[in-house]
């Protein structure tokens, strides 16, 4: 029997992606699907597609702040817009690639800890000292992790993930795939759920 899979393409820098992340356990339970987290670099996606953060348009950014808070309320999850936005997530996303490949059992704790630090606490993960203490609090050795982050294979994997996403039509985050069907946005989880329920067997 083949497993149903929902691919979840993410970057820690996107607040909507944090909201989607909070809903993945329920989505998996509702559909019986496995959720595969795929780290990508949103900045690279924007550069390749000509897209930009909604925050780049001031009026849209103001509305997004209210909209994200409304969704957090609907989901019943904590959320605070990070005052240090936008944060350069290159090291964080390389960290995700590294942990996923080398300590897969530690991957979800890593993802949870970084999303929480970015969009719940919220702290400045662009500050190396803050990043180190966040990783340490989540049970990681910052020095060991930062060494993995500098690895050429890790860097190449993140680039490859990002290029593959763009080639499949990705222009923002979060993006979901159920087979070849693509869904953009944390506000499309209903459609992802339907697709996984009805057409999710590859």
């Amino acid at each position: 029997m083949s497993a149903k899979i929902i691919e979840f393409l993410f970057d820690f820098g996107s607040p909507a992606t944090y909201l989607a992340h909070t809903q993945m356990p329920r989505l998996a339970a509702d559909t019986g699907a496995r959720v595969d987290y795929v780290p990508m670099l949103l900045g690279g996606v924007f550069k390749a597609t000509g897209n930009q953060s909604p925050m780049a348009v001031p009026a849209k950014g103001r509305w997004m702040g209210r909209d994200l808070a409304r969704w957090a309320g609907r989901y019943g999850v904590p959320f605070a817009f990070n005052p240090h936005f936008p944060v350069n997530t290159l090291a964080l996303m390389r960290g995700a690639v590294a942990v996923q490949a080398r300590q897969p059992e530690r991957f979800m704790p890593y993802v949870d800890a970084v999303f929480r630090a970015m969009w719940v606490e919220p702290v400045d993960l662009g500050d190396p000292a803050v990043l180190a203490s966040t990783l340490q609090a989540a049970g990681f050795d910052p020095h060991e992790l930062l060494a993995m982050v500098g690895d050429a294979e890790v860097k190449a994997r993140l680039i490859a993930n990002t290029e593959a996403a763009v080639a499949r039509g990705v222009f923002g985050a979060p993006t979901f795939f159920v087979g070849s069907e693509m869904f953009f946005g944390q506000d499309r989880l209903d459609f992802v759920r339907e697709a996984a329920l009805h057409r999710g067997r590859p």
Copy 2:
């Protein structure tokens, strides 16, 4: 007893706004609110805010086409992306202002006819002959309507509506207001419904 009001800021050129339009009767019935249609010029809003059509980013445009079709399926309404997109809607929106002010009982038939021509049939309303026959089929005298469209007061009203929208934070279409609460997008009707049910008494 004061009436509950949902303001619906629209431009015929936006396919998502057509989808929202199809849901207004149900939204009104569900909430007991009156829906006030407010014509605005989306091009003017984009110019004032620095926003742009999602179609301007090719990858986003391709996804939008699929996304709009999914929503049309969920709503159970006919939809066809207009191959002549983007259409200059200046005359159409001035027409909406004119009919709303001078033949209010003919306003909804006008709005229905134009949205249908644009996003169901779909025809090229930028072609004066097509526009004339569309208006005629909807029971309007094209010459009379086009004369109203050229009126200075009508032109000024559309500009005033658009400037007022921007001043309230509008950056795209469709946009809804329930009191001072703003909602952007046909995919936010659930939130509009909740706001109208719980806080819609001005």
